[in-house]
Structures are given as structure tokens and as C-alpha cells.
Subunit: 328 residues, 2 copies
């Protein structure tokens, strides 16, 4: 029943206009289907988002937004499930948003989500959703923050934002979260990986998963020494490096405890407020830029950007002068 009724036809263009105030009310009263439809509006870049975000605004800022990132193969899904289980045992409502920066498609995500739900499938206080981030959405820049807004307003205590650590995604996840967890695992050339991908700067909590493997302790030690040499944006918080086995459940509680500790510390130091301010600024700027691009490229515009681009392509104008002309 979950997916029926959300479209009248098959394509995006025929998606039925929904009554936003109703949908927001339903989402806030815990209806998973309404939450799902709001996130679909985000995913589709619906024109109704403006109304949705206005309706959600007074209700956001309560959830603990936790970013989880790690290279393919570190056991992200299993770890996420283990963390969800730990939070649930504390009575918390948990939403998981899995963003795949390499996938332009959201099709098929539903099936994946159901498989992933696993032991949480019948738990009304757990919501799991995959989201495509590529294409017209501008990547994580505003789609993920908006989806987080939906889940936050829907009253989840924890919103876990999961992404695979490739390219710039782990930096973007860190930008969108209150607390960022970086997952590693033995046997993946982690030392070089860590230094290369810039994860040393973004993690608030580091977790070496698959801790039952003998090399886990070495990974931890290496990571600790690299972290000691890294300049961090927040000197007051020394990110712990924890061992965990998501499979067996060992060490999972220590991780959720560390996440709570980080939130409390960030609240106290003012770092949380600074992060949320930075996040809101990035989101506002991304929306403003998006609006400008539409204006520049839109039907009914004077085609100025195309004319300028033609002059640049032909070498009659340099790109800076063209940018000046576009803005001026």
C-alpha cells in the first residue's frame, strides 16, 4: 500500500498535485506514507517544495542529524542497521536517509529499502529511505538538507544521513550533519585512503568496523597517529576512534554514546549552532544559485547566457568578462 496513489500516471509531469498542509500534518503525526511523499517531492524538485518548506520551517531543528560515510566495503548498511537497533533500544525514533551520489536513479530504491529494513520492517518508529542525488537536483547541495528537514519536522529523534565516501560526498555529508561518523575497516589500505580522501578533517567520531579481524587494532593505531597530526576545525573535541563489529553488535553502544557526547559538547561549545548556521547558509545560497541559473537559462529569457557563451567559445570574449556581463 505504501507506494500506490502517489501518482496518477507514470511520469513525473503527471504527478498529482497534493495538498501540502494536509501532507505536512500527516507527516508530523507519524504517517510514513506522508513522509515518503514529501521526500519524493524533494527528489523530484517539485515546485510545491516552496510551500512544503514554509510549512515545515517552525518544526525543524530538534533532530540529531548524524552523517555516516565510508568507502565501499566498510559495511555501511550493516553498521547503520546496528546503530538503528541501539537507538531503538533507547526508545528513540530513527530515520535513515541513504544518499547515493553515484546513482542518477531513484528507481529500484524502494525494493532496496525494503530489503534493508530487515528487522526494522515492522517498526513504525524507524523510517528508511534511499534517495538519488544526481541529475537536476544539484547533488547533495540542497536535496539532502531538504529531505533532512522533512524527517526532522516529522519528529524523528535521530536522522541518519548515510552516503558512500567517494569524491566530495563525505565533505558534503559532514556539512549537512550535526555529527559525522567516518567508518573504516581493516584490509582496505585505510591509511592512504584516509589521507587522500580528506576524511581526517571531517569526522567527529571514527569507527573501525569489522573489529573481529586481527588488523583492526593496527588500523585504529594508524588512524590515531594521523589524527594527532591533523588540524581540526574544532579544537575542543578530540574525535574518538572506536572499534565496532556491526555484525555481532559489539561496540555499537559505545558508538551511539560517543555520538550523544559529541552532540552535548557541540551544544555547549556553540559549535552546533555554528554548524547549523553554516548549513542553513549553504542551503540558502544553493537555492539562490539554482533560481539564478533558471533565470539565466529559462525560456522567455533574452538568451543572454547563450549569446555570451557563444562569444566565449569563439574566443571573442573571456569567461570572466562574460560572467561580469551576465551579472551586470
Amino acid at each position: 500500500m505504501v507506494s500506490t496513489g502517489s501518482t496518477t500516471g507514470g511520469g513525473l509531469s503527471t504527478r498529482r498535485v497534493v495538498a501540502v498542509p494536509e501532507l505536512v500534518d500527516q507527516a508530523r503525526s507519524g504517517k510514513a506514507r506522508a513522509v515518503g511523499r514529501l521526500i519524493s517531492l524533494v527528489e523530484d524538485g517539485s515546485p510545491q517544495l516552496r510551500e512544503v518548506m514554509a510549512a515545515l520551517a517552525p518544526h525543524v531543528g530538534r533532530a540529531h542529524v548524524v552523517g555516516v560515510t565510508g568507502a565501499p566495503g566498510v559495511g555501511k548498511s550493516t553498521s547503520t542497521n546496528a546503530l538503528v537497533r541501539s537507538w531503538r533500544s533507547q526508545g528513540k525514533r530513527v530515520a535513515v536517509l541513504a544518499v547515493d551520489p553515484s546513482s542518477p536513479y531513484s528507481g529500484g530504491a524502494l525494493l532496496g529499502d525494503r530489503v534493508r529494513m530487515g528487522d526494522h520492517a515492522t517498526d513504525r518508529d524507524v523510517y528508511i529511505r534511499s534517495m538519488a542525488s544526481r541529475g537536476h537536483l544539484g547533488g547533495l547541495a540542497w536535496a539532502a538538507p531538504q529531505a533532512v528537514r522533512v524527517l526532522d519536522a516529522a519528529g524523528f529523534d535521530v536522522v541518519l544521513l548515510e552516503t558512500v565516501g567517494v569524491g566530495q560526498s563525505e565533505v558534503e555529508v559532514a556539512g549537512a550533519a550535526d555529527t559525522t561518523v567516518v567508518l573504516l575497516a581493516p584490509g582496505m589500505g585505510d591509511g592512504i585512503q584516509a589521507a587522500k580522501a580528506g576524511i581526517l578533517e571531517v569526522g567527529d567520531v571514527y569507527v573501525v568496523n569489522k573489529a573481529d579481524r586481527p588488523e583492526a587494532a593496527t588500523v585504529r593505531r594508524d588512524l590515531r597517529s594521523m589524527l594527532a597530526l591533523t588540524e581540526r576545525r574544532d579544537a575542543a573535541w578530540r574525535p574518538p576512534v572506536l572499534l565496532m563489529s556491526a555484525q555481532s553488535g559489539e561496540g555499537v553502544e559505545e558508538v551511539t554514546e560517543a555520538l550523544d557526547r559529541h552532540l552535548a559538547q557541540a551544544q555547549e561549545s556553540g559549535d552546533l549552532e555554528r554548524r547549523r548556521l553554516r548549513r542553513a547558509r549553504a542551503e540558502v545560497e544553493a537555492l539562490a544559485v539554482d533560481a539564478l541559473r533558471r533565470q539565466w537559462e529559462g525560456v522567455g529569457s533574452d538568451g543572454r547566457v547563450d549569446d555570451l557563451a557563444a562569444q566565449v567559445a569563439e574566443g571573442r570574449l573571456d569567461p570572466y568578462a562574460a560572467a561580469d556581463a551576465l551579472l551586470g
Copy 2:
């Protein structure tokens, strides 16, 4: 001798102001050191870029810009070297720009470049350079196109833009190139990889490297059937799927021939002009957006974006209304 004299101190802030017209003249007359300094200006986001790009504008648009992408492990460096060798045997001057989207650092790139030069180290008509793309540069959005502009104006016949295929980078490379080569190799789960990463839409020429391995023919066949099912932006060009062994050199000439054929066909069909127009537009827009962001966040501004972000973070304003206010 290559790297001395480009700075007076150690840090970016003390980088000596250079005489742009001189540097451009030297680069155009084939001086590798001048080319390198111009690309460093791009990498640093130097304020002098404006002057550099104005001086380069009349001299661009001659090089064949070839993008090469592929997952880690397909043999990108070896393939690039093999292609360079093939072009050199035709008497062409070749520049290679290797962009690593996962690396925030350019430090150490020099050593890597020298190692990579390999048999081209003493060849004045080959230029190889790595570039970091992360950080303040806005990724590939304008740094790579500007570096390509430098190499194009410096008179290279072919500019090979190499990037590792993760996240969005292969789409960005395709956007920055006249012709895009997608590299695959047997034994990497290519079928799923291909479908997932969206490479079926971006390649103009597909190359299955390591063709000496028995499964290469299977990869080729699978890829061909997937391509047959894919809607392409340019119906006139049916991308070939070629077998190559970069190590032994077998099949390399067929690849450079296919690249030449694609260029000729794109020129004739008008697709090349459309691509270059699209590329110029993206570059102009990226520079305009960058200028706006500076304005919004800049010292001496009225702090409006921070004020708006605070209202959004506190739930007093929704992000769309804030974006409107920022623009209005």
C-alpha cells in the same frame, strides 16, 4: 629547474605577482615552465586569472580535448601513456591534465607527474600535469576548463583530461571534453558498474583495456548490448567498443583513430559546436556564481546572508524565502 622561482616564500599568499603577458607569450612559444605557472595560477584561484584568461581568449578552440575516465583499477595511467605514445608517433603535441576529484591536495603531485612521465620525460612536446580539484576551487566546474584553456592556447594538438570515475566526475569530464573515452577492464563487475555510474550516457568511445584477459570479449559484448538499449544525446554517432592492451600496445592505434573519427563527425554534425557552447556556458555560469558567493559572504558586505541563515536555522524563515530575500 622546473619548480624553482615560482614562489618567493613558501605559502600561497607570498606567491610573487607575475607579468601575465610575458607568461602567456612564453607558454604560447612552448615553454613548459610558463605553462606550469599558468596552471598553478588556476589551481590557486589567483586573482590574476582574470588577466590570464583575457590574454588567452583569442588563442583557444584549436586543441582536441579528450576526456578519459574509468573506475580505479582499469589502468588509466598506462592507457593514457599508450595514447600519448600513439599521438606522438603522428607528430602531435600532447598535454595530459590528470584531475583527482578525491584529493584536496596538489602537494606531491610534482613527484607523481615525473614518475608518470616515464618514457615521455625528455620529450618537449609532451606535458603532463596533475591538478587537485577540491577545496576552494569548486571542483571541476571551472578549474579544469581553465587549465584546458591554458593548454589549448599553448598550442597542444591534443589535451587529454584524465579523471578517476567516481561520483559525478565522469559526467563532469564529459561536459568538459570534445570526445570522452570510457575505460573498462575485465573482472571489475563492469556490467553493474556501467549501469550504475551512468557511463552509458557519457562515452563517445568505449575501451576495454587489459584485452589479453579472457573475459575481455564478454565485457565488450555485455557493454554493447547495454549501449544498444541506452538513449544517447547524439543519435548520429554510435560509440564503438574497442579492445586494447595498453601494456602491450595492441589496439591503441585503433583507439586514437576512433577519437579522430569522432572529432570529425562531431565537427560535421554541429555536435562539437554545441558541446563547446554548452561548456562555455557552464564555465561562465560557474564564474558568475562564484562571484556572487564572494559578494554574499564577503568582508564588507552587510552580513545579509548570515542574518538570513540565522533566521532559517531558528525556523523563523524557510530557505526559499531566504533565497528570495538574498536575491531581491
